[in-house]
């Protein structure tokens, strides 16, 4: 036992240690969702991440929350996090201003695999805040537009005013061979688009089931219906990826909170190939 341990080097730093970084910019996306741009040119050194990975953001004296990185992975120096204000930590984050300092540690977790999408069509299906962890995917796909087939973005929000990244949604739509379909649960007088759940958008597109990779992120119930719908359209399960959410205290597999059956969402996920967790999705209160 001693020898086994002696051969392993001590970890360079503490897995639970947070690093202070300065907020460069705060953008309110809607009433209760905002994007923080963090200046990473400091303590953490060279920071790189893969689309779908997340950080633990710490508010001094208040606590930590797991937040996906929502910026372009090829951008250096700064990172975006798009945060839905739902409770203690996210509210404290929402009160931060440009120039304030928060703690960050990461990046953690698995990522959306882009290599499998080469030369194929890509269908991004998201609801609510679920668009945030997929925005780095969209940036990456558009950056190397020619390496992929069609890009289809299906996005559902509660109401028109709740939609995230509205300017960018329009810009993406203008890109070559990109289809962006947006739906809302409740429209308003100015809304001329789709109304209904995000799965209903699938009936407006022709999915090439033999040649499409699907990335799905949103509330669990939305993901379940989406998967059923994709299965019905003959998309092989192993072409579908989804990102799961559970309570998370440590992000490194020590706290036990994020267990999802045999998996730890923090280190085995949050992004899973569907076959890995398909049987788990049907288990209630897992």
């Amino acid at each position: 036992m001693k020898d086994e341990l002696a051969n392993r080097s001590l970890p360079m730093s503490d897995a639970m240690m947070t690093y202070p970084v300065t907020i460069r910019k705060v953008i309110w996306e809607n009433d209760d969702t905002f994007t923080l741009t963090l200046d990473m040119n400091g303590t953490l050194g060279e920071f790189s991440f893969l689309p779908g990975q997340f950080n633990m953001l710490y508010v001094y004296g208040i606590g930590e929350a797991a937040i996906s990185i929502s910026s372009d992975p090829s951008r250096t120096g700064t990172l975006d996090h798009t945060i839905h204000r739902v409770g203690t930590v996210t509210t404290a984050l929402s009160q931060k201003k440009r120039g304030d300092v928060i703690g960050v540690r990461g990046p953690y977790g698995s990522s959306w695999p882009l290599d499998v999408a080469q030369k194929r069509d890509v269908c991004v299906i998201t609801g609510g805040i679920g668009l945030a962890p997929l925005r780095p995917v969209i940036y990456s796909l558009l950056k190397k537009r020619d390496e992929y087939g069609r890009i289809i973005i299906l996005y559902g929000g509660r109401s028109p005013l709740d939609l995230l990244y509205r300017v960018e949604l329009e810009r993406w739509e203008d890109a070559k061979n990109v289809e962006v379909l947006v739906t809302v649960d409740r429209g308003d007088s100015s809304w001329k688009g789709h109304i209904g759940v995000v799965t209903s958008l699938l009936s407006y597109i022709k999915l090439d089931s033999r040649n499409t990779i699907a990335y799905v992120c949103g509330p669990e119930i939305m993901m379940k219906y989406t998967i059923d719908e994709l299965e019905r359209r003959g998309l092989p399960l192993d072409r579908v990826y989804l990102s799961m959410e559970r309570n998370m205290k440590c992000a490194v597999g020590f706290c036990g909170h994020c267990q999802y059956g045999p998996t730890f969402i923090c280190k085995d996920g949050p992004v899973f190939p569907l076959p890995r967790i398909r049987p788990l999705l049907d288990r209630k209160e897992l």
């Binding site: 036992m1 341990l5 001590l10 947070t18 309570n247 490194v252 909170h257 267990q259 998996t263 897992l286």
Partner: protein
């Protein structure tokens, strides 16, 4: 194998202290065996014998001189390897931000764990795989563990809830110790038959008066250990257990156990392999000083699975199921072994005497998959 006479036992403690170890071992306290700092052999619980049943523990005092006459108490070495409360860092406010002023790297003492039972060695190996077996390592755990000296004590008698034989962890320590002692206290003899497990163990032994063991002395020790194994009343049939539990995710037994379980979390606190934790953030009144603490948590607590949409596991039924399926099924997927070492603590310290072996056996006998097929 060698023999250390009881009268020379204090030399073992001196040999450990000479090497700067803080010796932690069993003490009798509040009617149970607890773990604490041991200064001399007289601190060890002489003549104490535990009687354990589901939901019951009783420490009996007898006239004999045995210092390891009991089996396992409610505490385990996790108390030292990953303490119930640990400061992760302190920070102080600095302008619009903060600065980290200390971290958890504050070294823990160099521990010698005295009286580690074979099942507990199994548990420590499991702790290793949790905190130091994957992508991330817990720095504090790794350094405490790396420095720790393990003096095991084999079990010449099982307690009422032990089932280490089923879990392949006891009653004799076979690996991962520096020294392993089998206490023989009978017919006027009181000595320890000692196995050396490492160079460190060998060097410690050199500071303690000892002699080569006679063949009959070794045989007597092995005899006691095999009698102990044979005398274990409890067992857990592990064959195919992960699959069995997975097939019975909706078994009615989960409802039945939920009627009895108080969701008190005792089982998780006493289990030597349960590792869940949460964090607390605190500040002083001025807010100029903040601390982040890690503390043991349990999958039975009400907000363990809270997310913005609500709690995932709402009922005692699903919390007990998570606990037991994690131990006996998912652990295999996560760490390649069972999460249970058969120490029986969760059975003894459950206020209503819920018995993990009975629950598993009941599900086996009434398996939905068997009934359906």
């Amino acid at each position: 194998m060698v023999i250390i006479g009881f009268t020379h036992f204090d030399e073992l403690l001196s040999a450990l202290r000479k090497r700067d170890y803080t010796v932690i071992g069993p003490v009798a306290r509040d009617g149970a065996i607890a773990l604490d700092v041991i200064l001399s052999a007289s601190d060890l619980p002489k003549g104490c014998h535990d009687e354990q049943q589901p939901g019951s523990y009783f420490l009996r005092h007898e006239e004999d001189e045995a210092i390891f006459g009991y089996v396992v108490g409610p505490q385990s070495w996790k108390k030292y390897l990953y303490p119930p409360r640990l400061k992760l860092f302190s920070a102080k406010r600095e302008g619009k931000g903060f600065e980290i002023v200390s971290d958890s790297a504050t070294p823990s003492p160099k521990y010698a764990f005295l009286g580690v039972r074979p099942c507990e060695i199994g548990a420590i190996k499991i702790n290793d795989s949790v905190f130091d077996g994957g992508q991330y390592s817990d720095a504090r755990y790794v350094s405490t563990r790396k420095d720790a000296c393990v003096i095991a004590v084999n079990c010449t008698r099982p307690a009422g809830n032990c089932f280490c034989v089923s879990m392949n962890t006891g009653p004799r320590a076979t690996h991962a110790f520096d020294l392993a002692l089998t206490e023989i206290c009978e017919n006027g003899t009181h000595h320890f038959v000692v196995d050396v497990g490492s160079e460190l163990g060998q060097s410690i032994l050199e500071d303690v008066t000892h002699r080569q063991a006679e063949k009959n002395e070794i045989e007597r020790a092995l005899d006691l250990l095999s009698t102990s194994a044979a005398g274990m009343c409890k067992s857990l049939e592990t064959e195919g257990l992960p699959q069995l539990l997975n097939d019975n995710y909706e078994h009615p037994e989960w409802d039945d156990v939920a009627k009895r379980c108080l969701a008190c979390a005792n089982c998780t606190m006493v289990c030597p392999t349960c590792f869940c934790s949460t964090v607390d953030d605190i500040t002083d009144l001025t807010g100029d000083h903040a601390e982040r603490w890690r503390r043991w948590d349990s999958c039975f607590t009400s907000d363990f699975t809270k997310i913005a949409g609500g709690n995932i596991r709402m009922s005692t039924r699903t919390r007990y199921r998570q606990w037991m399926m994690h131990k006996l099924a998912h652990w295999h997927d996560q760490f390649g072994t069972s999460g249970c070492v058969g120490c029986g603590r969760c059975i003894t310290w459950c206020p209503v005497g819920i018995d993990i072996t009975h629950e598993a056996q009941h599900i086996r006998e009434t398996s939905i998959s068997t009934i359906n097929s």
